[in-house]
């Protein structure tokens, strides 16, 4: 018997006896082996035999004893979040307005200079007490509640500081109002400070209001990505076209997309052609022309044509879903730079409370004789209010959220905060040549006969022998022969010689086809003139293959890969950042050097076999460099992993997310520099934020304690303290949001 386990909420529980009753009721169901009810969490966990027990059984057992089971009610977090946020903001706004209006009235009636113009009743202390009480206990209720629940865990936070600070100010003022004679007897003028308690609460709530609004902006990128998803798909089933909700689309479904429509899921075009704008997902600015057998990406926009495609990835497997997951994960990760802020913030609040107590003691003992108690109280309040651990806590995560989100908008997916942090230190970038700097589809450029053979015959022999080969160069030659409509013969006793080429018999002729090494091995003579021809082609950046028939060299076929049109700009941008560019390739020295020269790359590592790339990366690291490796993410996985930052350039939908620290979904080489710039700008923002948050607390807490008083007779009013506090956390969030406006390309 396989057992199932289920946990669900129960509504209506309020005492320990409910627990026993519910447990008994659940255990009485036939098939339930265990039932645990937790009063604190208001939840039941039940182990049962799913063959005998259904949700209905559980629900009715619970309702029979007078409660309600909430089975299967695990929330839709996105919706819940939205609604809750809005409600929270609305509540907050009402509280801000009420506190500031009441606080303003009290200030009018109590501030020297202003109070002369105020109506008499506002100057009455009892009226002020009456106005201040709702602010303290209704608008400020949240501070008390949070403080109490934190104290239960022997911890303290921002709310604890605000609650303590305002309570001291309010309590003293209330005491002065109710028992002025006691204060007078102590030689102090009975003057309440209700304006302080109310306006502090108003301003701090106002700060929270703006902070909440700004914080919503930091996660905007994710919301945008989620919003990209299409809602429905027009699926062709049994010859009929029906609109289905996106989550009902299955792999293998044929889906029609009309002009101007969004492509719902990932797939391959089976009929028709169109121009597709993929900018929203890949960041690629130019629309791509697509036809049969081309890959389409869900959430991109079909522009002109109409086509049918076969769904290959749906639901959580689509590229968009993967991007969203990756960005969410990155935003949940922690940057190493944050560690110090973490360490400090865990001690911060208790230390501030101790400093506040010390402030009180010192001012009480050493303050000016007539106002010692007053100054002791006001400065204690100022210390409690000005301390702002929030700014420290917000400094790193908000910038990481904006930075990773901005990256995603440009097709730059960052795996985690640590990768983003390391990327700003990169000073050397190693590019894999084929498929990264070049398009990765080599083409035949020259066919040169060196004896009586016609070039057509040369190509026929080469294509025939290469037909069975899996090498990318072979593909280029076979393709060329097909284009020229040359009939290919079948090769016999075909054999691939790794690192050299191929051999076999075509129409009874023994053929060797491959590189110089193969010719040397087979002792095929290459004349000086032929050699010069080869060198000339190689100096043009072409890969030259030689064909020997019956032991004599018959001809040369040159193959070249096209350099990506964004390569030059992309590399120039990296150089402008002061980054050294290295090219790594399996090509021979001369070809590699020629391509390097075309791209302006001086350091070229040629004739590197795929399994040596990792070692080459490590060699450069041993020079003390911080190395990024850019590759296609599939063949280069070990080298990508060995590099300080592995950058995979995506090809179509094959986002090789796992191997790389940063994945570039588009093929635009300028994205590499953009990723580095993004990292540098994000780190700058984080450093500025941290500096601001630390400097703020380090400078202003002593000022609030009154260290300037002995020299300049300067004290910080608690009201100014609350202004400074509210501004400091908003300014950190706002600074992170500024990242959105920075150009990275």
């Amino acid at each position: 018997m396989s057992e199932s386990k289920k946990t669900f909420s129960i509504k209506g529980m309020h005492c320990a006896s409910c627990v026993t009753m519910l447990e008994r009721a659940l255990k009485q169901i036939d098939g339930v082996s265990q039932a645990n009810v937790n009063l604190a969490t208001e939840k039941a966990t039940v182990s049962y035999d799913p063959q005998k027990v259904t949700d209905k059984h559980l629900e009715s057992a619970v309702s029979n004893v007078g409660y309600q089971a909430m089975i299967g009610e695990e929330l839709k977090s996105e919706d819940g979040e939205q609604k809750e946020k809005q409600k929270e903001l609305k509540d907050l706004r009402v509280k801000v307005i009420v506190s500031l209006v009441l606080g303003g009235l009290i200030l009018w009636g109590s501030f020297p200079g202003l109070m002369k113009s105020a109506p008499m009743f506002l100057q009455n202390f009892w009226v002020q007490l009456f106005l201040a009480a709702p602010v303290q206990f209704w608008a400020g209720f949240g501070f008390y509640r949070a403080t109490l629940s934190a104290l239960k865990h022997r911890s303290a936070n921002m709310d604890t500081l605000v609650a303590m600070g305002t309570t001291v100010a309010f309590g003293y003022s209330a005491f002065v109002t109710i028992m002025p004679s006691v204060v007078e007897r102590a030689g102090i003028e009975p003057m309440p400070y209700f304006d302080v308690s109310t306006i502090i609460i108003g301003l701090i709530l106002l700060g929270r209001y703006f902070e909440a609004k700004a914080k919503a902006g930091t996660s905007e990128a994710i919301k945008k990505l989620i919003g990209l998803q299409a809602k429905t798909a027009r699926v062709v089933r049994d010859g009929k076209e029906i609109d289905l909700p996106i989550n009902e689309v299955e792999i293998g479904d044929h889906i029609r997309v009309r002009p101007g429509e969004k492509i719902p899921v990932d797939g391959i075009i089976v009929e028709g052609e169109s121009s597709i704008d993929e900018s929203m997902v890949t960041g690629e600015s130019m629309p791509a022309d697509k036809t049969k057998d081309d890959v389409v990406v869900g959430a991109t926009m079909n522009k002109t044509g109409s086509f049918i495609f076969k769904a290959t990835k749906v639901g959580q497997e689509t590229m968009l879903a993967q991007i969203i997951k990756l960005v969410q994960e990155a935003q949940g990760s922690k940057a190493p730079i944050q560690r110090i802020a973490d360490l400090i913030s865990s001690y911060f609040v208790p230390i501030v409370i101790m400093l506040a107590v010390a402030t009180f003691v010192v001012w009480y003992n050493f303050g000016p004789a007539d106002r010692a108690l007053l100054f002791a109280i006001l400065n204690t309040v100022a210390v409690l209010i000005i301390a702002c651990p929030c700014a420290m806590g917000l400094a790193t995560p908000t910038a990481i959220m904006v930075g990773t989100g901005k990256g995603a908008e440009h097709g730059i997916l960052i795996k985690d905060a640590e990768s983003l942090e390391t990327a700003h230190k990169i000073n050397t970038i190693v590019f894999d040549k084929t498929g990264t700097l070049t398009v990765g589809k080599p083409e035949v450029t020259d066919i040169i006969s060196v004896n009586h053979l016609k070039s057509e015959e040369l190509l026929r022999l080469a294509a025939s022998i290469e037909k069975g080969s899996e090498h990318s160069l072979a593909e280029a030659i076979v393709k060329k022969a097909e284009e020229e409509k040359i009939a290919i013969s079948k090769a016999e006793s075909f054999q691939a010689i790794p690192g050299h080429g191929v051999e076999g018999n075509v129409d009874g002729v023994k053929i060797f086809f491959g590189n110089r090494r193969l010719m040397e091995r087979e002792k095929v003579t290459i004349t000086d003139e032929q050699n010069n021809q080869i060198i000339k082609l190689e100096n043009d950046g072409k890969t030259v293959m030689m064909l020997a028939a019956n032991g004599a060299l018959s001809g040369l076929i040159a193959v070249a890969d096209i350099i990506k049109d964004t390569a030059k700009d992309g590399l120039a941008a990296l150089k402008a950042l002061g980054i050294e560019v290295v090219m790594i390739t399996g090509d021979n020295q001369r070809t590699a050097a020629a391509i390097g020269a075309k791209l302006g790359i001086t350091r070229v590592l040629a004739e590197v076999l795929p399994d040596q790339k990792e070692a080459e990366v490590k060699k450069i690291q041993a020079e003390g460099k911080v190395v990024a490796m850019v590759g296609d993410g599939i063949n280069d996985a070990p080298a990508l992993a060995a590099a300080d930052v592995g950058i995979a350039m995506g090809s179509g939908t094959d986002v090789a997310i796992e191997a790389a620290d940063i994945t570039l979904i588009n093929k635009d080489l300028r994205s590499v520099a953009a990723a580095v710039v993004l990292s540098k700008k994000t780190m700058r923002t984080i450093k500025m934020n941290l500096f601001w948050a630390f400097a703020y607390n380090i400078i202003l807490i002593p000022v609030a304690m009154g260290v300037l008083y002995p020299f300049f007779q300067l004290l910080l009013s608690p009201i100014f303290a609350s202004v400074a506090m509210a501004t400091s956390s908003i300014s950190v969030v706002a600074n992170s949001l500024l990242l959105k406006r920075k150009n990275i390309i």
Binding site: E74, R145, S149, D416
Partner: protein, 119 residues
């Protein structure tokens, strides 16, 4: 120094000592989790030190009862999880640690901390 100064000073030092002891010398209570552990989010996390098994999926079920926006998000950095916790609702987070060690979970602003001990 007058009597009131002495009293204020003694009380002040006493209060500071109490604050140090109360906040900074607390001992966390540790629980050992099965497949599933319920964590109540109210002024912190309870339980806040949880022992979980290596190589096994453990579900952490967070229920936020504290309306303070400080606790509205829970972050488990090593597992790259950042989740919004709607008030009075349960949010499940599944983790499968492959390495033994201590991992923390914190609120969105890093003010509240909890610890996962993987054994």
């Amino acid at each position: 120094m007058q009597l009131d100064n002495i009293i204020v000073t003694i009380i002040g030092i006493g209060v500071m000592g109490f604050i140090y002891w109360f906040f900074l010398m607390k001992k966390e209570k540790t629980v050992t989790a099965g497949d599933l552990v319920d964590i109540t989010v109210e002024g912190g996390y309870s339980p806040n030190t949880i022992v979980i098994a290596k190589g096994k999926t453990t579900t952490l079920r967070f229920t936020r009862k504290d309306p303070s926006s400080c606790l509205e998000e829970v972050v488990v950095p090593e597992f790259k999880i950042r989740k919004f916790l709607p008030l009075n609702q349960t949010v499940s987070v599944e983790i499968k640690p492959e390495k033994a060690g201590e991992y923390e979970f914190v609120c969105g602003m890093n003010m509240f901390h909890g610890k996962l001990i993987v054994k």
